[in-house]
Symmetry: C2
Subunit: 315 residues, 2 copies
């Protein structure tokens, strides 16, 4: 008997823990590209299982944790960021030896501190040394997403052309980084960078958390004004729509994300306030040159970013 | 001889003063929909004339002001907001009697105060009373645009599904409003509202100028951080891109827009600061409920807006 084997296959069984927008999109991408023989989803509700299977995001689903990870070569935890620690603790005793484990959480410092305590660092109070896990854990963060949530909004191209950050700590084996990089590139990521947890949280505070916070504040300003003059919102055009799109995102999810990175986010809000003050001064004192310098700086940097992105997309 | 007449034709000759993104897109829309027998562009540079003609945005172009408006039934002034007053003053002696004149400027209070002084209000110092113009002027602002500038980025669908604000002052004849409303609906606007100059400037400060100011500030925060850590920008995903798209807009244009509405813009920045403080407090004191309430307010309002827009687009 000749066994067929897909040449693009990287893993036999992949388990996705939490099949929402992120997990579901991963399932679709893995299946579309033939990266695994089997994609299994671990879900909390039977309804999600039925939907995810119907959409082709998973081959099979289960509500049983041990069953989900049995024989898995890659486990991707795609639950909300505040549940990652507990989920990993619950998964640990059931993970096969040699299994590669990752997550797609939005913040890393707090979570990876918990992971270290759980698996690597001796407890000074109880004097217990954790048993070194037989699986390998490397944290990931693909910079992709949507303001929508749930597997029904999953897209097989969600990760295409995106940038994936891999987090290196002193417990991260180099070969696991290399394997994960191959995986992320295989689902479409155009760029993979290796960073520290601190770098990660600093970066995402600037380019993801601050934009989200600002978009929400901007929407709330407009909503407050619209209570006195409801017609005001009808004037909102494509500029307002784009600037505030992310503010439609799931509030519960974003509450956890922002809180889990709150020192960095507060630092970013401070920097934003400084820029706002600069602009206010130029406006109040009616100084076209100062205002124009600030707008010019933003415009040329923003245009440059777009150019770089286009180049990245082409090559 | 039988004269053919396009049933959708509203005007014989339309003159567009300033054939850039806005003016050029109007030309394309007017020609595509057969709203005028002839579209003539008044430009400052021969190069623009050649480009605009090649792109089909105008039938003919000229650098001569009197020639441009000779016999025009509709004149649309689409120059930057700080040039509107002077342009209208220069145009006035050459405009045919009965001609309908409008502009697409981004702010109205200052500009319309100048217009009143020019054409309607006696000068208390010189005791001169302006000669009442034989043309009719009504100010417009279609809420459409792009971060790009120049006729080469003009699009025949730029105004489609957009909302056009018409500005009523005590000098605005009702029938001219009605004629302009027909015109804007004919180029694709889905909604036309009549507002006062003050309402207009308040509305656009909230939904257009504040978003632009914020986007620019956000880009500058990221740029400053990137000077210490250039890799940071590579983490910017679709959220950052959308939130900051407008910041790429022409700095000279936006300097004038923001300065011409500076009291309102400063007021909006103040309101934004209040929202930011609310968020900072929730983050610093680690209060998920307060933060979540703020994000929930933004999320549901933003989703509602999107729903309303979809409904408007369908009907």
């Amino acid at each position: 008997m000749v066994r067929e084997r897909n040449p693009s296959r990287l893993f036999s069984k992949v388990t996705i823990v939490g099949v929402g927008l992120m997990g579901g999109s991963l399932g679709l991408a893995i299946k579309k590209r033939g990266l695994a023989k089997e994609v299994v989803g671990l879900v909390r509700r039977r309804q999600t299982l039925v939907r995810a299977k119907a959409l082709g995001a998973i081959d099979a689903g289960t509500l049983s944790l041990p069953q989900a990870v049995r024989g898995a070569e890659l486990v991707i935890v795609a639950t909300p960021v505040n549940q990652l620690g507990n989920m990993l603790r619950d998964l640990a005793p059931h993970l096969p030896a040699g299994c590669l484990v990752t997550d797609v959480g939005s913040t890393k410092v707090r979570f990876l501190r918990d992971v270290e305590k759980m698996f690597y660092v001796p407890d000074l109070v109880t004097k217990t040394v954790p048993v070194k896990p037989t699986f390998t854990f490397v944290s990931s963060h693909p910079m992709a997403g949507s303001e929508k949530e749930g597997v029904e909004h999953a897209r097989k191209d969600l990760y295409e052309s995106s940038h994936c950050l891999l987090i290196r700590t002193k417990y991260t084996p180099a070969d696991a980084i290399a394997r994960l990089e191959t995986f992320w590139r295989s689902v479409g990521c155009r760029l993979v960078s290796v960073v520290t947890p601190e770098e990660h949280d600093h970066w995402v505070a600037a380019v993801s958390h601050l934009p989200h916070a600002l978009a929400a504040c901007l929407v709330n300003v407009v909503q407050d004004l619209a209570q006195h003059d409801p017609r005001l919102v009808t004037a909102a055009g494509p500029g307002f729509r784009d600037t505030t799109r992310v503010a439609a995102g799931a509030p519960a999810l974003w509450t956890e994300i922002l809180l889990s990175n709150r020192e960095e986010v507060c630092g970013m809000i401070q920097l934003l306030r400084q820029q706002l003050s600069r602009m206010e001064t130029a406006l109040q004192s009616n100084e076209p040159r100062r205002l124009s310098a600030q707008l010019e700086q933003a415009s040329s940097f923003r245009q440059e970013l777009e150019k770089k992105r286009r180049v990245r997309k082409v090559h």
